[in-house]
Symmetry: C2
Subunit: 284 residues, 2 copies
């Protein structure tokens, strides 16, 4: 592929990630405005944006909101490039070929005030070395499982998958269950969703359309789940349980998450890499 | 060395670790009784002991206290043995020789109610494969550094080291500074102390005496530092700062600590391995 074609794909992908970020920020701020339950006496949260630079090439923007519905939500978009060490190649998902890389993506983690509202993670990214591929996914972490939420979340992602290929949803759901698993506790991080990596079907436009659909599915379904629960009152015991569950989230991210490890090793902005950490967690 | 000689050393070491645990528990409960500052209206804490078993061989005892001075302190003693996989050999500190291991030790982490009182970690252990060695150390994590505390803590450990060899303190202090370092944040976990591993001078009795002296130095100095600060009032801002510093403690333990990784991989009781986690931490 020509440099011009590569460059145009890079441009299209990074523009989409930023656009998706803008639409999610707007949707989440609307939720902040709509709150009538606990903490409705507080001012609705608003995102703040902070530019980040990566020594070695590129940078990004963190959008962070500490609100009355969203206790802490971080949405990072970044486009980074440079030399890829052998170790980083490993962390990025095997031998990627080449020693130069370009990567752009959006990564979101939301920790909610209410233990009745599930926490969520969504990430899509485009990676180029001598090869090029997409990766990403979305997964839900309720503090107390709600079967209707789980079904709605999976249905939205399945619909996005089914528009591309019939085998995507079952494969990517299984991959998610395998990835978001804490072996030391023998438990899943949440109720899953989808996870995929090194997606390169041979049709770049189709792959990019799939990645956009995953983002749009998230944008449609998650605010719906938040709205369903955000005005319900909760108990101190439920909050305590939430803080303990968040401890598991910390354990997963620091012990197992490849994205976190990649971010820490590539020396990207630490606040951006650790944006996924919950605002408060307990190990009682 | 004969099996009988090995067995007698194992017995001596594991007996010492349990005795040291008993003495530390008594000293910490006395501190709970002496509190006259914040939370003195609460009942003084008392240790609870829980036996743990390790699938594959051995087990231990967790002593845990959730008190009014000690927000959460865990003291684990364990004696474990069995087959050592190649991966575990690596985690245990390089190629240890042999595929059978025996390990006994005491490990302590204290997270304090008051942000004026430093958190602390102490661990000593005896490890046997075809070779045998000691490891351990103690390090202090103040939330706000106090030069007098740092000096007193280091002086006590230096004195213990100097009774054995003049080069122990400078070597083991430097090792501690290197070990308890968070590269992703480019900061030390605390103000250090000593750290040593694979100590096998050729004189087992001398090495064992050194390890006992480290434990006794800890037992003497740490309660002194607690007593110095535990009745001082503190502000909400200091407490908030403490919770953020505890987040760094979590990051270190899950990202870098070899003992935690060893515990999780060898399948020892998860609550015992993660006893070092703070009761509450924040990533604001």
């Amino acid at each position: 592929m020509s440099d011009a074609a590569s460059s145009s794909r890079q441009q299209a992908a990074s523009t989409w990630f930023a656009e998706l970020r803008d639409r999610i920020c707007a949707a989440f701020e609307t939720l902040e405005d709509e709150l009538t339950g606990t903490y409705c006496d507080r001012a609705p949260g608003r995102f703040q944006r902070i530019a980040t630079e990566r020594p070695g090439g590129g940078g990004g923007e963190m959008a962070v909101m500490r609100g009355r519905v969203f206790e802490k939500v971080g949405i990072n978009v970044s486009t980074v490039f440079g030399d890829l060490s052998a170790e980083q190649r490993q962390l990025a998902g095997g031998d990627a070929g080449g020693t130069q890389f370009w990567a752009s993506g959006i990564s979101l983690v939301a920790h909610m005030q209410s233990p009745r509202v599930p926490a969520v993670h969504m990430n899509t990214r485009h990676f180029m070395t001598e090869q090029s591929w997409f990766g990403g996914g979305a997964d839900l972490t309720p503090m107390v499982e709600d079967a209707a939420d789980t079904a709605a979340f999976h249905a939205a992602l399945k619909q996005a998958c089914d528009r591309s290929a019939a085998d995507y949803y079952p494969r990517f759901k299984a991959w998610c269950d395998e990835y978001f698993y804490l072996p030391h506790r023998k438990e899943a991080r949440g109720v899953g969703g989808i996870f995929f990596d090194r997606l390169a079907s041979g049709d770049w436009q189709a792959d990019f359309a799939f990645v956009r659909n995953v983002g749009l599915a998230f944008l449609e379904v998650y605010p719906r789940l938040v709205r369903r629960h955000m005005n319900e009152p909760w108990s101190t015991a439920e909050r305590e349980h939430q803080l303990v569950r968040r401890g598991r989230y910390v354990e997963f991210n620091l012990l197992y998450d490849r994205g976190t490890a990649f971010g820490l090793k590539t020396g990207h902005n630490i606040d951006a890499v650790l944006m996924s950490m919950p605002p408060e967690a307990r190990w009682p």
